[in-house]
Assembly symmetry: C2
Homo-oligomer: 254 residues x 2
C-alpha cells in the first residue's frame, strides 16, 4: 500500500506518523510551504512532492489534509490521479471530489491534534465515506490499519459530528481559557484547576454527561449564582457567558 | 485524631473515604436524612449521630460538608464544640463560624465528586483557611494526610477558585450535554466523542489552554462558522451559545 500525503499541518502530521507506525509507506509529501513538507517528509522517510502534477501514479491513496477552503483548488491539480483520493475534513462534503476523480472518499479522524503532543491514534474514531462500495472497502482497509475504531458516516452526519466536536472540544477549551484568565487576575495558578479539568472529562467516559452535571445552576442555588454574578459585574462579556450557560443548564433540568 | 462528619452528600462521602484511607477515625456521621448517615457510617465503621447536641466532645475536628445555605442553621446546633470546625464549601466565607466557635476554618477540596465514582484524593488540591495560625496548622496537618496538594487560600481567592471551577467543570460538562444532545438527535453515539473530550482535557495538563485553542472561531474560518450556524437555525438557544462562545474565542485572539 502506497500513500501520497497532501498537507503538513496538525492533522496531516499525526496521520503521517500513524501511517509510519502502521508500516504503510508514504511515498510523497506535498505542502504549500515546501519547507514544512520537507520537515514532515524527513520524519517519515518520504520524498517531497514540489509539483502536484508529478504525483506518484502508482500510489493507492492520496490523502488531502489541508484547510477546508483550499480543498477544491488544490484537488484540481491532482486530476488524472488513478488511486483513491480522500480528504480528512469534518465539514466538507464528499461531492467536493465528484467532477475530478473516479474513486474518492473521506477519512475524518475525530480528534484534536497538536503538532507537539503525541496521540494514541489506534483509539481515534475514524469516520469514513466513499462514492462507491469498492472504494469504501479500500478506505476501510487503510483506516483499520490506523485505528480499531472505524465507522461509516455520511456527509450530513459527519457535519453534525464536527459541530458536536466544536462544543465538546473547542468551546470546552475556551472555557478553560476563561477559567485560567480569572485565576491569573487574582494571582492564582492554573495548576490548581488542572485535576478538576481532567476529572470532569474522565467522569463522562463511562457516564452520560447529563447524569453527572454538578454546580450551582443545576442545584438552583440562587444565592451562589448571585454571588458569582456580582464577582463578574466588571466583565460584562464573561457575565453574559455565565448567565447564558447557567440558564441553559437550568433548562436541561426541566 | 478523631473526626465528626456532618453531611452525607458527594463531598462528605469522598472525604469520609479519604479519611478512612488515611486511617483517621471518623467517630460520628450526621445527616438530615438519618438513613444516608447510616449508609455512610457503615462504610467507614462510624456511629450515626442523630442529635447534633450529642456530638463527641473529644473529637478534634467537626467537618461540616452540607449545602451552602444550610451551614449557618446547622452550625448553631454545634455551639459548645471545643474542637476545630471546618466547612468544605468554595463559596462560603470563613466568618460564617465567627460568632459560634473559638477554632474554625475551611477545608475546600477543589474537585468534582460523584457518589459512584472513585477519586484519587491524594492529588486533589485542598484549599485551607483558619481564624488563627495555630488552627491553620491543625487543619494543614489533617489536610496533608488526605492530599499532597494543600494550599492556604483566603476567602476572597477561594471564591474566585470556585467561580473558575464553575467555568472549567460545571459549564464544561454542560457543553458535553449539549454535544451529546446534538449527536442523539441524529442517532449518533456519544461514545464517538469521548476520546476527543478526554484528549481536550489531557492537552491542558501540561500546556496553557490559550496555546492549544483549535477550531473554526480561532482560525477565523467564516465559511465553517456560517455552516454551523445554519445547522442550528432551528435551535435558537443553542445557536446563541454557539455565537456567544465563538465571539469570545475570536476576542481572545486579539
Amino acid at each position: 500500500m502506497k500513500v501520497v500525503l497532501v498537507g503538513s499541518g496538525n492533522v496531516a502530521t499525526h496521520i503521517a506518523l500513524a501511517l509510519k507506525a502502521a508500516e504503510i509507506a508514504v511515498v510523497q509529501v506535498w505542502s504549500k510551504q515546501t519547507q514544512n513538507a520537507k520537515t514532515l517528509a524527513d520524519q517519515i522517510q518520504a520524498d517531497v512532492l514540489t509539483n502536484l502534477s508529478e504525483i506518484d501514479q502508482q500510489a493507492d491513496f492520496c490523502i488531502v489534509s489541508i484547510k477546508d477552503d483550499a480543498i477544491t483548488s488544490i484537488t484540481k491539480e491532482l486530476i488524472g490521479f488513478k488511486g483513491v483520493v480522500v480528504h480528512t475534513s469534518g465539514a466538507v462534503n464528499l461531492d467536493v471530489f465528484e467532477t475530478y476523480f473516479e474513486k474518492y472518499g473521506v477519512l475524518y479522524p475525530l480528534q484534536t491534534f497538536s503538532i507537539k503532543k503525541e496521540v494514541d491514534f489506534t483509539s481515534v474514531p475514524i469516520c469514513i465515506e466513499a462514492n462507491q462500495e469498492k472504494t469504501l472497502q479500500s478506505i476501510r482497509q487503510l483506516a483499520e490499519k490506523l485505528s480499531r475504531n472505524v465507522i461509516e458516516v455520511d456527509s450530513d452526519k459527519r457535519k453534525i459530528l464536527h459541530l458536536a466536536a466544536v462544543f465538546a472540544c473547542n468551546f470546552t477549551n475556551h472555557l478553560y481559557v476563561l477559567s485560567s484568565d480569572l485565576l491569573a487576575n487574582y494571582d492564582l495558578d492554573f495548576e490548581m484547576i488542572r485535576p478538576l479539568i481532567l476529572e470532569t472529562a474522565a467522569k463522562v467516559q463511562h457516564a452520560l454527561p447529563r447524569a453527572v452535571q454538578t454546580g450551582p445552576a443545576i442545584r438552583n442555588d440562587e444565592q451562589t449564582l448571585k454571588k458569582h454574578e456580582e464577582l463578574l459585574l466588571k466583565q460584562p462579556q464573561l457575565l453574559n457567558i455565565y448567565q447564558t450557560l447557567s440558564k441553559s443548564i437550568k433548562k436541561t433540568k426541566k
